[in-house]
């Protein structure tokens, strides 16, 4: 099985070709503003040039070997992208959203966007509509749904020219009829408006579910354009394989579906880099330090998976109930600016302009990369161009960089015993060779493209969310699990690798016969190509 994994980052587009569980070839190219050109270039380089040896000396024996096989079809392309989360964090490419809350007179004082950062809300808040309706926990309506008010809202949305709407109704995970009815009215009045319904995205917790629906709605246009650009790049490169997007939990979703749910791909970047690090190092329990151009993400692998953040996860300052890797982000990367008096490293960075602005590439800015070159940690650009940097400054800047990483690692460690650390990302030469509480700093081949490797080995999932009647709770969960596993296997999962990642059940008091809504999600490696 031949798969291509692509990571489209803010600075670089990385691509790897996997055969079974071997990395055959890897390339790194600059991301382009139109995305398509960068991916096309990466695919061309990947498929039309021969495989090369890993670019940096490996400390551990390489887990992968190159070998030019006969051209064989590509079975799947998996793309991981930080586009959507970057758009929210940087407040760009977002469209204004009509926020429709159904539940009055309940929830009246806490309107949509109540807990959003002001600057983000100012961009996303198109118009707020709060309508009577929603349900009680036992299925009774709170008050009758205000269909006439919804029709007025729909007409107002048309007048305002809003293109995207999010609808959240009180207790919609138990009874979605108000959201469905509102969507039908909106479709009649404004057939072109993209609609996100909160019950498709979330669980109990009105504000958090509504927040996710609003984020999804504001990203709709960008998601359409981005997936369109991905598809075009594949066509241009003559790759006919199905296209998948990687999701927050390290699994894949067909791009055509993922385009409707961009929020599911929010944290796929860090998830991919951590899973890529696990794959390349063959370690299951380790700290992963991913040093990019602008930031460093530190996370923990437990049993081969990223340790998840508990409870509430914020994205761009917005509260959600997503499951995401527990990460510490530092404003430190290969492009971080270094200033001498007083000594400062980052958080400002030259970012994607590293190859123009850094000293070793002929630029005028002193970056963390220049310091590393001057210290002899890495060979990049022209070392002579940093010969004039005072040795004291190199020493103190490097000490500061190391201290930042060491402190971050210490903060993420949850037990006292020494664990290995895997250093990945384009700036991984900034990671010190020895760290307190770390048994070994591991560098692996293809470490600079760990994200793309993680995308290529993304897993498949199976999920069941249905109402069971007249069964014990244990029976219902066991049955849901069996069905979810069967779905995952039919989607291509190796049965031996299936793991349950979510179990949730809500008794539904208003339906007869001891009704239980049960949701089980299992994930597993792709059969014939997973992690050893």
């Amino acid at each position: 099985m031949r798969r291509i994994g692509i990571d489209v980052g803010g600075t670089n587009t990385d691509a790897v070709l996997l055969e079974g569980d071997r990395v055959v070839h890897a390339v790194k190219t600059p991301t382009t503003p139109d995305v398509t050109t960068g991916i096309t270039r990466a695919l061309d380089l990947l498929l039309k040039t021969g495989p090369v040896e890993p670019p940096l000396t490996s400390i551990r024996p390489p887990a992968v070997q190159a070998g030019l096989g006969p051209p064989a079809p590509i079975h799947a392309v998996m793309i991981g992208t930080t586009h959507f989360t970057n758009a929210v964090v940087q407040r760009k490419d977002l469209v204004p959203v009509a926020a429709i809350r159904i539940g009055l007179p309940a929830s009246a004082s806490l309107e949509p966007f109540i807990d959003w950062p002001d600057d983000l809300a100012a961009i996303v808040r198109g118009e707020i509509f709060m309508l009577e309706g929603g349900h009680e926990y036992d299925g009774r309506p709170i008050v009758p749904f205000d269909a006439a008010g919804m029709r007025r809202a729909a007409r107002r949305i048309r007048e305002l020219g809003l293109r995207s709407a999010a609808i959240a109704s009180v207790f919609s995970p138990l009874n979605a009829s108000c959201e469905d009815e509102a969507a039908a009215i909106l479709r009649e009045e404004c057939p072109d408006v993209a609609i996100t319904l909160s019950h498709h995205l979330g669980r109990i917790g009105l504000l958090e579910r509504e927040n996710v629906a609003l984020l999804n709605a504001t990203l709709g246009a960008l998601a359409g354009r981005t997936v369109g650009a991905f598809t075009k790049a594949l066509e241009r490169s003559g790759v006919a394989a199905p296209l998948y997007l990687t999701q927050n939990d390290g699994t894949i979703m067909l791009a055509s579906l993922a385009q409707r749910f961009p929020v599911y791909s929010f944290a796929s970047g860090p998830t991919n880099s951590m899973r890529g690090a696990a794959f390349l190092s063959r370690l299951t329990d380790a700290i992963v330090v991913d040093v990019g151009g602008t930031t460093t993400d530190i996370g923990c692998l437990r049993h081969g998976f990223p340790r998840e953040a508990n409870n509430v996860v914020e994205v761009g300052g917005v509260r959600t109930l997503f499951r995401m890797p527990d990460l510490l982000s530092l404003g430190l990367g290969g492009g971080s600016l270094v200033r001498p008096e007083p000594l400062a490293v980052g958080p400002l960075s030259v970012g994607y302009q590293l190859t123009e602005r850094a000293r070793v590439f002929g630029g005028a800015d002193l970056t963390a990369t220049d310091v590393a070159v001057a210290a002899g940690l890495v060979e990049l650009g022209d070392r002579k161009r940093v010969a004039d940097v005072p040795a004291d400054l190199v020493k103190s800047a490097l000490a500061r960089i190391h201290a930042m990483i060491e402190e971050g690692v210490d903060r993420m460690k949850t037990d006292a015993s020494a664990v290995p650390l895997v250093a990945v990302g384009g700036g991984c030469f900034l990671v010190p060779a020895a760290i307190d509480g770390v048994s070994e700093v591991v560098h692996v081949p293809h470490r600079a493209v760990a994200n793309a490797v993680g995308a290529a080995i993304a897993q498949v999932s199976g999920e069941v969310d249905q109402i069971f009647q007249n069964r014990s709770r244990e029976d219902a969960i066991a049955e849901a699990r069996r069905l979810a596993e069967a779905k995952a296997v039919s989607a291509g999962a190796d049965p031996a690798t299936l793991t349950v990642v979510e179990v949730e059940d809500i008794p539904i008091a208003y339906l007869p016969g001891n009704s239980l809504r049960t949701r089980v999600r299992v994930i597993g490696d792709i059969a014939g190509g997973g992690i050893a």
Partner: protein, 360 residues
């Protein structure tokens, strides 16, 4: 200081501390906090009043948002509802309240009196009647002192109002008001039996608002210093670590106006290979370590996020969470023989003799 204004930062701390003292119940203070931020930004400032500053014949409104925590996550909370319950009581009694206080400092009900106070321009008394959270009306220091259980007013978002003018006992008051609460969707604002200044001074648990604010400060300071917030809480409140593990199973149902259920935890780190079970009725009531009772009400059983130290409520506990279970000491009044009749394990249907984890 007998009476002083509370800052917005103190309300943020109160929300964190109250969520811990909620012992899994009381509902998340987050929605109350959002309402308070909004009120403060509109210019409101609420004063905190020492109980000692009350005159014996002052009248104090004892408020609580009653219901099942899971319902609060969807219905949220609105300051108008609790203010309406207080106003309804003033109209019923034809008297004016000097101040407002919470029936329970644990969970969202720590913030409810502040919402009512902001709208009605009254101070909040630095006290409550539980020192934590409990699910039922008879589980208060007022009930343990055999104060009068009536009258009660109850308001919902639809402008329904109920007055319970008489109740034979605290348990009858619980039964009557719970029936009304279930009828309006298992969430309602209530004003409990009013208390005189003398009754508050003699029978309430004093200083608990300040205590919750202090607890919130401790957690935030630990987070800022990158120290373990759970450890910081244990140090500050003389608590005990009971278990560290991962949630394996949570079963819950909303019934009779409560969130009931149980959770199973699998040990991690020092507790590897061991298991812990928790039973809850809104709040955590009993915990078993490897099948043996380890901790029981009224000792405070708190489940906290292993990393952030944020309290984990019974309505948000979920599969895969990594948590720590700790115990904090209960107020002395709850540990008296009379107190244990009201809030000991048998009051929750567990045939166990109360043994405090702090007894040894």
């Amino acid at each position: 200081m007998a009476r002083r204004p509370i800052t917005e930062a103190e309300i943020e701390s109160l929300a964190i501390g109250a969520w811990i003292l909620g012992t899994g119940g009381g509902g998340s203070p987050y929605y109350g906090l959002l309402n308070m931020r909004k009120l403060y930004r509109a210019g409101a400032v609420v004063d905190l009043l020492d109980a000692g500053d009350l005159a014996d014949d002052d009248l104090v409104a004892v408020v609580s948002n009653m219901g099942a925590p899971l319902v609060g996550q969807e219905r949220l909370t609105d300051p108008q509802t609790i203010a309406r319950a207080v106003t309804m009581m003033e109209e019923y009694l034809n008297r004016t309240f000097r101040a407002v206080m919470s029936v329970e400092i644990g969970g969202g009900n720590a913030i409810q009196p502040f919402m009512a106070a902001a709208l009605l321009d009254k101070p909040v008394v630095d006290a409550d009647a539980m020192g934590r959270a409990f699910p039922e009306a008879q589980m208060t220091s007022f009930a343990i002192h055999d104060l009068r259980p009536w009258p009660l007013t109850l308001a919902d978002v639809r402008d329904n109002g109920v007055v319970v003018p008489r109740a034979a006992t605290w348990k009858w008051m619980e039964r009557l008001s719970r029936t009304a609460c279930v009828a309006v969707g298992s969430i309602a604002g209530t004003c409990k039996a009013p208390r005189t200044g003398k009754e508050v001074k003699e029978c309430a648990i004093l200083g608990t608002t300040t205590k919750a604010i202090r607890l919130g400060d401790v957690v935030q300071a630990a987070r800022r210093a990158h120290r373990d917030p759970v450890e910081a809480v244990l140090d500050a409140e003389h608590g005990r670590l009971l278990f560290a593990g991962k949630v394996q199973d949570v079963a819950r149902r909303t019934t009779e106006g409560f969130l009931r259920g149980h959770a199973k935890l699998e040990g991690l780190d020092d507790f590897k290979g061991r298991r812990f079970e928790l039973a809850f009725q809104n709040e955590f009531a009993v915990g078993w370590l490897d099948g043996e009772p380890r901790v029981m009400t009224p000792d405070l059983i708190c489940v906290m996020d292993a990393i952030s130290g944020e309290a984990v409520g019974t309505e948000v506990l979920r599969y895969g969470q990594r948590v720590k279970v700790i115990a904090l000491p209960a107020p002395p009044i709850l540990l008296t023989p009379k107190g244990l009749q009201h809030v000991g394990p048998r009051a929750f249907g567990y045939d166990l003799d109360f043994v405090s984890v702090f007894a040894a």
